[in-house]
């Protein structure tokens, strides 16, 4: 994956999937439709202002609540290149990998990076650089098994290859 560079958008702790994509929009699974309402109940202006390549910096337990895969789909389709948080809710964590949304765990980066900072990320090494403050952080390494899934091109590509063997 190429290096990511974008502006930081800060959110608090326990951002739930209803805040990420409210259920009133779940009567479709079209990514572009979902993107229009991304983060709406946490910040109603976000979807209109976020730029491709931007980065969400959130508090602990990001993506708690429902199993809706619409949540990582909406974030990715809104152009967000990466979500950084100290921890992610379990189902959201799996869903992000399965939908190809990059997520990184780092308590230090989540606490230190300020709203609007310019952030550069090397997905391969997990290096997070705050270009505005000049500080850098290392994300917790992605578990080996999940790295394998990513290398295979995602869960379905992994199974497709395995079923063909």
């Amino acid at each position: 994956m190429d290096t990511i560079k974008g502006k930081a958008w800060k959110f608090g702790d326990d951002i739930d999937t209803d805040a990420i994509i409210p259920a009133r929009y779940l009567n479709t699974s079209d990514p572009q439709e979902l993107a229009k309402h991304c983060m709406e109940d946490a910040d109603v202006a976000f979807a209109g202002r976020v730029k491709p390549g931007d980065i969400i910096i959130a508090g602990k337990n990001f993506g708690c609540g429902s199993s809706r895969e619409h949540a990582p789909i909406a974030i990715k389709a809104a152009g967000v290149a990466c979500v950084i948080a100290p921890t992610f809710a379990r189902i959201f964590y799996r869903n992000a990998f399965n939908t190809g949304l990059l997520i990184l765990e780092s308590s230090e980066a989540a606490a230190a990076i300020a709203e609007g900072d310019e952030v550069r990320i090397d997905p391969a090494s997990g290096l997070i650089e705050d270009l505005t403050s000049g500080r850098s952080f290392s994300a917790r390494p992605v578990p080996e098994f999940m790295r394998g899934l990513l290398d295979a091109g995602g869960l379905m590509a992994y199974w497709k290859k395995r079923l063909a063997e």
Binding site: D18, I73, N98
Partner: protein, 427 residues
């Protein structure tokens, strides 16, 4: 070496003698479940795989319960994708409007989930089936699609937290109150990635509907699963319903837990969880003293949509009416619950109370339809989440409670204790 019930069920389905927390396993799935919101994405992912059909026509369950009866054209299209997939692959168990209910009330009732099962569902409240002694957990649509195609799923074996409930519950204290209290203690991520095992003498005395309320909300503490080892209460419930053989697992006495929490239930009052998170639990007395006016009361959902929940509400509502301008909604979890409500005269009591009795649906719980809140409105609901905007406008509020507290609040038009309505004569 000793193992927990969660470890034993995972090991059994992975074809291993034993597993340890942190171990990655690939496990065999007994039931793969999705609903009308999550199935369309799962079906699209399934099609990408290019397999001919599902892993087992009897073990894939697609339940149209969220936005049904179809709330708008887009929802109708989603439900149609689900229905056409069921027909194309000739799935053995399908429940159309008129037979369908809220998935996590319907499946145990129909004996489609049994003790010892490994269940994955594209719905976070799939953890409800832990009440039957099954390992059940929510997954996203893509994980579900892989399970539907292959009958297999990968897991990291979770550590287990043991919660021991001692003592006898006081008046109007339900399984719902035990779990709201527990989430208040643990917080919304206190069991993140972990298994929550509920045990102790108060659980042994707890009926199945209360156990299902508890396992249902394990996810609200971030848990991977909630589980209660089967006992005679479980087997009395399962025996007349089970459509398959089942296996009873139990934790070894010396199994390892990452943490043990002891709770004296005799000290717990009915709980009310304040917005915007399920862990903001306070006693009903504290909530009632705050004089919180209520616009809507919802009694139902996968947490509290079983016949016993409505009997409890009826005890409070019999001979009384919902407060002026308050909207009281009764939502039976399944058609069977609805039928039983009619047989027992509960529907008559609810109609006399000027409640709306709705068909089974997830509806208002997730702000889908059938009772959406306007800005500034407040609801007391027996549902499981009170996030910002959960039941409608982002400036509306949801307070979570058991059915008796919800019914009492409907009568008085503000958050109220059951005792305020029926006096101190108890249940």
């Amino acid at each position: 070496m000793a193992q927990t019930i969660t470890e034993k069920i995972l090991a059994f389905h992975a074809g291993l003698d034993r597993v340890e927390p942190g171990q990655l396993i690939e496990a065999r799935v007994d039931i793969a479940l999705a609903n009308d919101v999550t199935a369309p994405i799962a079906i699209a992912e399934f099609e990408k795989l290019g397999v001919e059909t599902v892993f087992d026509r009897g073990r894939v369950l697609l339940i149209p319960d969220h936005f049904t009866p179809n709330k708008d054209i887009k929802s109708a299209e989603q439900a149609k994708i689900l229905r056409e997939f069921v027909q194309k692959h000739e799935l053995e168990n399908y429940f159309e409007i008129g037979r369908v209910g809220i998935e996590h009330v319907l499946l145990p009732e129909q004996g489609l989930v049994v003790p010892g099962d490994l269940v994955v569902g594209a719905d976070s409240h799939t953890c409800t089936y832990g009440a039957l002694g099954a390992f059940a957990t929510g997954v996203g649509s893509t994980d579900l699609a892989a399970a539907v195609a292959t009958g297999r799923v990968w897991f990291k074996v979770p550590e287990s937290i043991k919660v021991v409930y001692r003592g006898r519950p006081g008046p109007w204290v339900e399984g719902k109150d035990l779990i709201l209290y527990t989430i208040g203690q643990l917080t919304v991520d206190g069991a993140l990635y972990q298994a929550l095992e509920f045990t102790g003498e108060a659980i042994a005395e707890l009926p199945m509907y209360g156990r299902m309320s508890m396992a249902n909300m394990a996810i609200e503490a971030g848990a991977k699963n909630g589980i209660i080892a089967p006992d005679e209460t479980t087997l009395d419930y399962v025996r007349p319903r089970a459509r398959r053989d089942y296996t009873v697992f139990a934790s070894d006495p010396d199994a390892a837990y990452v943490r043990t929490i002891e709770i004296d239930v005799s000290r717990i009052r009915p709980q009310v969880s304040f917005p915007p998170l399920p862990d903001k639990a306070r006693t009903v007395d504290e909530a009632a003293a705050a004089g919180i006016a209520v616009d809507q009361v919802v009694i139902g959902s996968c947490t509290n949509g079983r016949i016993e929940d409505f009997r409890l509400a009826a005890k409070i509502l019999k001979g009384r009416k919902a407060a002026p301008y308050l909207r009281l909604m009764i939502i039976p979890g399944t058609q069977e619950v609805y039928r039983q409500m009619v047989r027992e005269g509960l529907v008559e009591i609810f109609l006399d109370a000027e409640a709306l009795v709705s068909p089974p649906t997830c509806g208002p719980c997730l702000g889908g339809h059938m009772g959406i809140l306007a800005a500034g409105e407040r609801a007391v609901a027996t549902t499981n989440r009170n996030f910002v905007g959960r039941m409608g406008h982002p400036e509306s509020e949801v307070y979570l409670s058991n059915p008796a507290v919800a019914a009492a609040s409907a009568v008085l038009g503000r958050i109220a204790t059951p005792e305020e309505v029926v006096g101190e004569e108890g249940k």
